[in-house]
C-alpha cells in the first residue's frame, strides 16, 4: 500500500515537472528584434518628462492604450527611472491638439503647434522634453489544429491540440520638444508560437509576445532618451 502511494506521488511529481519544463520551453519560444535609428543627440535631466502617445489615425488598426501604458510603466521604474506623463492626462490637458484627427503627424507639424502660446505653456508646465509616438499592433496568424469538448452524464472533457502565432510589430518615433525635431526611431518586432493541448482539460501555453515587445522597447527607449 505504501509502495503504491509512493509510486503515485513520484508519478505526479514527474508529470508536473515535465509539464513545467515543457511550459518553460514553450514560453521561451518568443523572438524579439530591436532596431534603433538615431537622428540626433539626446539627454534627459531629472526635471524633464517624457510622454508616450499611441498613434490612432489609421482606420485598419490603432495602437492599444494598454501597450502604451505598459511601455510607460516600464520606463518609469527600475534604475534610472524616467518621469513619464500618463497618456490620457496629457491628451486631456492638451485638448484638442493631440486627438486622433488633429495630432501632429510629422515633427514639422510640432514646430507649428509649438507656435501656439497655450500649447507651449502647457508643455512647459508638464516639463515635456520628449514625445514618443508608438505605432503598431499584435496580429494572430497561422491558427492550426482543433479542440473538441463534450459533456455527458458521467462528466465532460476536451481533446485536441491548437496552436497559433502572434506577431507584434511596433515603432517608436522620438521627438525632441525643445528643438521640435525628430531625434530617432526604435522598432520592436516580436514573434512567438502559442500552444493549447487538451487532454480532458485545455492547457494554454501562451507566448508573451506583446509583453516581450513592450519590455524590450521600453528598455531601449529608456537608454535612447538618456543618450546611451
Amino acid at each position: 500500500m505504501i509502495i503504491k502511494a509512493q509510486h503515485s506521488m513520484l508519478s505526479a511529481w514527474f508529470k508536473s515537472m515535465t509539464s513545467l519544463g515543457l511550459l518553460l520551453l514553450l514560453q521561451a519560444c518568443t523572438t524579439t528584434t530591436i532596431d534603433e535609428f538615431r537622428q540626433g543627440a539626446t539627454g534627459i535631466t531629472s526635471e524633464d518628462s517624457v510622454v508616450i502617445l499611441g498613434r490612432r489615425q489609421g482606420a485598419a488598426y490603432e495602437t492599444r492604450a494598454q501597450f502604451v501604458e505598459c511601455v510607460g510603466e516600464r520606463m518609469a521604474r527600475g534604475a534610472n527611472a524616467i518621469n513619464v506623463i500618463p497618456e490620457q492626462q496629457f491628451v486631456d490637458a492638451m485638448f484638442p491638439w493631440f486627438e486622433p484627427r488633429t495630432a501632429p503627424l510629422r515633427s514639422e507639424d510640432l514646430q507649428q503647434l509649438m507656435a501656439q502660446p497655450l500649447v507651449t505653456e502647457i508643455m512647459s508646465g508638464f516639463g515635456v522634453r520628449y514625445i514618443v509616438w508608438l505605432d503598431g499592433q499584435t496580429e494572430t496568424t497561422s491558427r492550426m489544429g482543433s479542440i473538441s469538448c463534450a459533456v455527458g452524464p458521467g462528466g465532460g472533457g476536451c481533446f485536441g491540440f491548437g496552436s497559433w502565432e502572434d506577431d507584434s510589430s511596433f515603432e517608436a518615433r522620438v521627438w525632441d520638444v525643445s528643438s521640435a525635431t525628430a531625434v530617432g526611431t526604435i522598432s520592436a518586432d516580436a514573434t512567438g508560437q502559442s500552444y493549447m493541448p487538451a487532454v480532458f482539460v485545455p492547457i494554454p501555453l501562451i507566448a508573451r509576445v506583446e509583453a516581450n515587445a513592450c519590455s524590450s522597447l521600453a528598455d531601449q527607449l529608456k537608454q535612447f532618451v538618456q543618450g546611451g
Binding site: 490603432e62 485638448f95 486622433p100 484627427r101 488633429t102
Partner: protein, 229 residues
C-alpha cells in the same frame, strides 16, 4: 403573495413543505411565478436604452471676443437613435441629447468670450448676443461587433451646424461628421461599448469643431466683418 410568503416563512419552522404545497395549490405562488416568467421574458425582449454619458475637456484655444447664443432645439436635445436587430426589432435606443449639451457647454465657453444658452430663438435679440449657434444631428450610425465582425463598437454622426444673427439672418450653415470607436473586448456589456464609442465620437466632434470653426468660409467672412467693426 406577500401573505403567502409570510405564512410560508412561519411554517418553515414547523412544516414548510406542507405550507408551500398549500400555497402552490392555492394558486398564488403559481400566478406569481407565471408573472415573474412573463416579466423576465418581456425584459429580455425589450430594447435596451443607452443614455450616453461622458465628460469632455475644455479646449485650449484663444477665445473669440464675441457673445454667442446657443439654442439646443429639436434634433439635438431630443435625439434618440434606434438600432434594429437582424429581425427588425428594436434592440438599442441611444439617447445622446444630454451629453451633447454637456459637450457644447464645455467647448463653446472656451471658444467665445461669453456664451448664453437660449430657451428659444426669439429671445436672442433681447439677450444681446452677436450670433446664435444651432447644432442639429442629421444622421447617427452605430456599428455593433456582431454585425460588422470587427472587434469594436463604432459610432458615426453627421451634424448640421447653423449660425444665424440675433435677428435670425443667415451667417453660415455647414455639415460636420464625427467618428468614434471603442474596442469591444474591453467591455463587459454592449451598453458600455456603445457609450464609450459615442463619447469618442463626441470628443472627435469637439476637437474638429473647436479647431475648424474659424476656417468655415462663411464663418470666417462674418468674423472678419464683425471683428473689424
Amino acid at each position: 403573495m406577500s401573505n403567502c410568503i409570510v405564512t410560508s416563512k412561519r411554517a418553515a419552522a414547523t412544516n414548510g413543505v406542507t405550507m408551500m404545497k398549500r400555497c402552490f395549490q392555492s394558486g398564488d405562488l403559481r400566478r406569481a411565478l407565471l408573472s415573474l416568467l412573463i416579466l423576465l421574458c418581456l425584459a429580455s425582449c425589450a430594447a435596451r436604452t443607452v443614455n450616453v454619458q461622458g465628460s469632455y475637456p475644455r479646449p485650449n484655444i484663444p477665445a473669440i471676443p464675441l457673445v454667442l447664443g446657443v439654442y439646443y432645439g429639436e434634433g439635438l436635445s431630443d435625439f434618440m437613435y434606434t438600432e434594429l436587430s437582424d429581425r427588425g426589432e428594436e434592440e438599442y435606443l441611444v439617447s445622446s441629447g444630454d451629453t451633447h449639451e454637456v459637450l457644447f457647454n464645455t467647448v463653446l465657453p472656451a471658444m467665445f468670450e461669453r456664451v448664453v444658452v437660449l430657451d428659444s430663438m426669439e429671445e436672442a435679440a433681447a439677450r444681446g448676443v452677436d450670433a446664435v449657434f444651432v447644432p442639429r444631428i442629421n444622421e447617427f450610425q452605430l456599428g455593433m461587433p456582431q454585425k460588422t465582425r470587427l472587434d469594436s463598437y463604432e459610432v458615426w454622426v453627421r451634424y448640421n451646424m447653423r449660425l444665424t444673427g440675433a435677428d435670425g439672418s443667415y451667417i453660415a450653415d455647414w455639415v460636420m461628421t464625427a467618428y468614434g470607436k471603442a474596442t469591444a473586448s474591453s467591455f463587459s456589456t454592449a451598453e458600455r461599448g456603445i457609450n464609450d464609442a459615442a463619447v469618442a465620437a463626441l470628443r472627435d466632434l469637439a476637437s474638429n469643431f473647436s479647431l475648424g470653426f474659424t476656417g468655415v468660409p462663411d464663418v470666417r467672412d462674418w468674423l472678419q466683418r464683425r471683428l473689424s467693426q
